[in-house]
């Protein structure tokens, strides 16, 4: 069984949870004896972290046969003329760890000089040319659909759906689209209709849809009017082998830390975290709140915190890299995920690996797995504040939540998830 897997992120080229999930899935599939061709927009982030048996194709290095190139150049010119400029606020925010615009352009220019034979110069992130890049990626999909041999096409999130559809048209092989998040999750208030259209086309063209949670399955069925029978739920997992010791990081103060870690965007609910913090601080003082991450709501949240005049108890760390993420987890006493809409939500699982109790929003895929975690409606900050106080005051409760949630976590693993995905492949291939 050989699968053409179309991804947009893969560590180390990653800006969110998508890359991590794709790696987990790919690793699990390899262990289940699936052969993979993994396509990513660019190899610029560094060498692939996947098993050496995986054939990794970087779209910006891929040179299709001459007839494609001619065809592409003709079509590409048209598309460039009709270029749609995207505005992708939920993703902008994750760009801090990517090269800045100017640097990006410089790099892009350098690449185009070095590799004039390549047809693509991908930024491969979520910049203003995202739509154009998605279309370019689709041409590669079509070319690969004809040139490579495989049994199944597996596309992750909307950026790769047009490529998946193109590959299916070219090869006649079944298409699986994997939904890590929908436009309705990412943009709570103002959805981008172009993206919704692309998602809908992907769902319609797919032979099977994999959703990362029942929450997401319902979302797809309701918002995109897709027959629920077509949608399988395969939960994500976390790499539990990485068990972190909460080694004693000396804090410079004695207060307990309540942590928010994620993009500071509408989807992640940072404003609810702040409002709950104010309510907690009205009732207790031996606590500090920390917001880690960056995002388009950052200025707004900072200003609002200043208005509340709680700068002696509420802190911002900015975007944190790997080491610092470990440090802040190790320092924290309670983790809050107040997401407005979270298809899965890997961060509470990470927190649990550090033995940090979690409070999560009901509007999340994670809540399907973490049965024993306290849950709130994202907007109910009274309830959230009350739970925070209760947890901070009760060590036994914190320990219990950690213990029971870790048991909940035993039900998920990448091996299990991949085995389920393999089953889906087999059903489709046997058609």
């Amino acid at each position: 069984m050989k699968v053409l897997m179309l991804g947009w992120e893969l560590p180390p080229f990653i800006s969110g949870g998508l890359g991590t999930a794709c790696k987990g899935i790919a690793d699990g599939l390899i262990k289940n004896y699936i052969d993979l061709i993994f396509v990513i927009p660019t190899g610029r982030g560094g060498d692939s972290v996947l098993d050496s048996s995986v054939k990794v194709i970087c779209a910006d290095k891929y040179i299709p046969a001459q007839n494609y190139l001619r065809d592409f150049n003709k079509k590409y010119k048209q598309d460039e003329e009709n270029q749609i400029v995207g505005d992708f606020s939920p993703y902008y925010t994750s760009r801090k760890n990517l090269p800045s615009n100017k640097a990006e352009e410089a790099i892009a220019e350098k690449i185009s000089l070095q590799e004039e034979h390549s047809i693509l110069n991908f930024a491969g992130n979520y910049g203003r040319n995202l739509f154009l890049e998605v279309m370019k990626y689709a041409y590669i999909g079509r070319a690969l659909g004809e040139e490579e041999s495989f049994d199944i096409i597996h596309a992750h999130d909307w950026m790769t759906f047009p490529a998946g559809i193109a590959a299916k048209e070219a090869s006649g092989k079944p298409l699986v689209v994997h939904v890590h998040s929908t436009e309705y999750d990412r943009s709570c208030l103002h959805q981008n209709n172009t993206i919704i259209d692309i998602e809908k086309k992907g769902f319609d063209a797919a032979d099977k849809i994999i959703a990362v949670s029942f929450y997401t399955k319902n979302m797809i069925a309701e918002k995109y009017e897709v027959n629920p029978d077509k949608i399988e739920v395969v939960h994500n997992a976390v790499d539990k082998n990485t068990q972190f010791l909460r080694y004693q990081i000396r804090k410079g103060f004695e207060e307990k830390i309540v942590l928010f870690l994620g993009r500071i965007t509408e989807q992640k609910g940072p404003g609810y975290f702040l409002d709950a913090a104010v309510k907690v601080l009205n009732k207790m003082s031996n606590v500090r709140f920390v917001m880690s991450g960056s995002g388009d709501m950052f200025p707004q949240i900072v200003s609002k915190m200043a208005e509340y005049d709680i700068a002696d108890k509420f802190h911002f760390t900015g975007f944190l890299n790997g080491d610092m993420v470990e440090t802040i987890f190790a320092m924290s006493d309670l983790y809050i995920m107040p997401s407005v809409s979270e298809p899965f939500g890997i961060s509470p699982f990470e927190a649990l690996l550090y033995d940090i109790p979690v409070v999560i929003s009901k509007q999340s895929g994670a809540s399907e797995i973490l049965e024993h975690a306290p849950k709130v409606n994202f907007s109910d900050t009274d309830e959230l504040a009350a739970i925070i106080i209760k947890m901070l005051e009760d060590k036994e409760l914190r320990d219990t939540v950690v213990r029971q949630c870790k048991e909940d976590m035993q039900n998920i693993s990448w091996a299990n998830s991949s085995a389920r995905i393999k089953k889906i492949y087999n059903q489709l291939a046997g058609k």
Partner: protein, 465 residues
């Protein structure tokens, strides 16, 4: 005969580390970016403080006492000179020996303390007064508050501390009062153009303020008001190529300063406007212009033009290549050789009798020399700034209880107004000025770093009190 008062502000803050993150709180008590502060101090000393002060010395010597100049040097700047560029202090000492220079007093830490704690304000002014006395000898008699933050109450406080003179911005509008530049009913003069300077409307453009004033309720005090149009022609517009008057020459500038006929008439009219500010009924008279000549005569006898600006104007804000030093040298020699304008220092205005015709100015609400608004919005304009100011002044009680000199000094350095200026989110024209002075990528970074630092200080104090 008119008088001209040149005063330069010298200030450098202790800038904070831009990488002082949340993780440092309670662990790292070194807040300042010493290498950045050293680099900036070295650069500005090389570009401005050293060559400009040498030029001042040359001019004083060349014109044998006819050229006089005043300075206010913040305590945080003095400390950095002592640490990084002692030559600058030596040059100022040499200048002081000539007797042609006056050093003012201000808050040692270039702070907004007056707005938060009178006690803290007094202590900082005392500390600065002592520092100036120790360095240069002589007791400062003129007070200038940080960024020319001024009101009746501040003038009263300065008087109580023994000062004779105080400085303020010559604003167009005093909050809650009639505009200085209010058009006369039926009068032919167009309104003043705030940023036109020389090229704007010369008529109303630079006429006010033209005399000496005294603060309401404090008649014994002399109040010198900055002529912002003429000051900003040099401070802001000198090297601006899109400005109509570019390039500004000494001859052109002196023509505006000195008594051409039109100037006299205009100043007479504006004098009337200004007195209209003092007495509302006159200004409302449609026939106001008729008394012009009389007003002009009256004005001329006590005319004083106050050019107040950052010292860094010379060589730093405008680099030497722009010709700013040549301009300044030419300006001084032209004034001395070709006009009857006399240089004065604020400490001389009483003995020269300039105060005899002083008019009362009532400033019930705070004004300053910053931004278009000339108010406190540059430091208190948004919630971050207010939160940061609250945080630092909330510490006062415990800091004073602790009485630790080193910690008090740390706390006070965090009161320097620049820290709050960096947090300003103003856009448009002033935003550009803000960005020029800001070493933080955004105001939000400035606020967050500042809060981290102050949180560490909270921890230090908490552990000791």
């Amino acid at each position: 005969m008119s008088s001209l008062c040149f005063y330069f502000q010298v200030h450098q803050p202790f800038r904070l580390k831009t990488k002082y993150t949340f993780f440092e709180i309670g662990k790292n008590h070194f807040y300042e970016d010493e290498s950045l502060n050293r680099d900036i101090c070295n650069k500005v000393s090389k570009n401005c403080y050293i060559p400009a002060t040498r030029l001042m010395l040359d001019l004083v010597e060349k014109f044998k006492g006819k050229f006089k100049v005043s300075f206010s040097i913040s305590g945080t700047a003095l400390e950095q000179f002592q640490q990084f560029n002692p030559e600058v202090i030596e040059l100022f000492k040499n200048l002081h020996k000539t007797g042609c220079v006056e050093f003012f007093a201000e808050t040692y830490y270039h702070s907004l303390a007056f707005l938060y704690s009178i006690e803290e304000f007094r202590q900082q002014v005392e500390k600065h007064r002592r520092a100036i006395k120790e360095l240069f000898g002589g007791e400062p008699v003129t007070f200038r508050n940080t960024e020319l933050v001024y009101s009746n109450a501040i003038a009263m406080e300065a008087k109580n501390m023994g000062f004779k003179n105080i400085l303020a911005e010559g604003v167009d509008k005093i909050p809650g009062r009639l505009s200085f530049a209010a058009p006369l009913g039926g009068g032919g003069l167009p309104d003043a153009d705030a940023d036109g300077g020389l090229g704007g409307n010369p008529a109303a453009g630079h006429a006010f303020p033209f005399g000496l004033y005294y603060p309401r309720g404090v008649p014994e005090m002399n109040l010198l008001l900055r002529n912002y149009r003429l000051s900003d022609d040099i401070a802001f517009r000198f090297s601006e190529k899109s400005w109509k008057e570019y390039p500004l020459t000494a001859a052109k500038y002196v023509k505006r300063l000195s008594g051409t006929n039109s100037w006299n008439k205009i100043s007479g009219e504006s004098a009337h406007k200004a007195s209209g500010y003092a007495s509302l009924s006159d200004a409302a008279l449609p026939s106001a212009g008729r008394t012009m000549d009389k007003a002009a005569d009256k004005t001329n006898s006590r005319r004083i033009i106050n050019l107040f600006m950052d010292y860094e104007t010379l060589g730093e804000h405008h680099s030497a290549q722009t010709g700013i030093f040549d301009f300044f040298e030419n300006l001084i020699s032209t004034i001395i050789n070709k006009t009857d304008i006399e240089f004065v220092m604020p400490k001389e205005v009483s003995q020269k009798g300039l105060n005899k015709t002083a008019e009362k100015i009532d400033v019930p609400d705070i004004i300053s020399w910053a931004d278009e608004e000339r108010d406190l919005s540059a430091w208190q304009g948004n919630s971050m700034q207010k939160s940061a100011l609250n945080m630092i002044y909330k510490l006062e009680e415990n800091i004073k209880k602790l009485g630790n000199e080193e910690i008090t000094h740390l706390w006070r350095k965090l009161q320097t107004s620049d820290h709050f200026y960096y947090m300003s989110t103003k856009r448009f024209q002033d935003g550009a000025v803000h960005r020029y002075f800001n070493y933080f990528p955004t105001p939000y970074d400035a606020y967050i770093i500042y809060c981290n630092v102050v949180n560490d200080l909270y921890e230090t104090v908490k552990k000791r009190v």
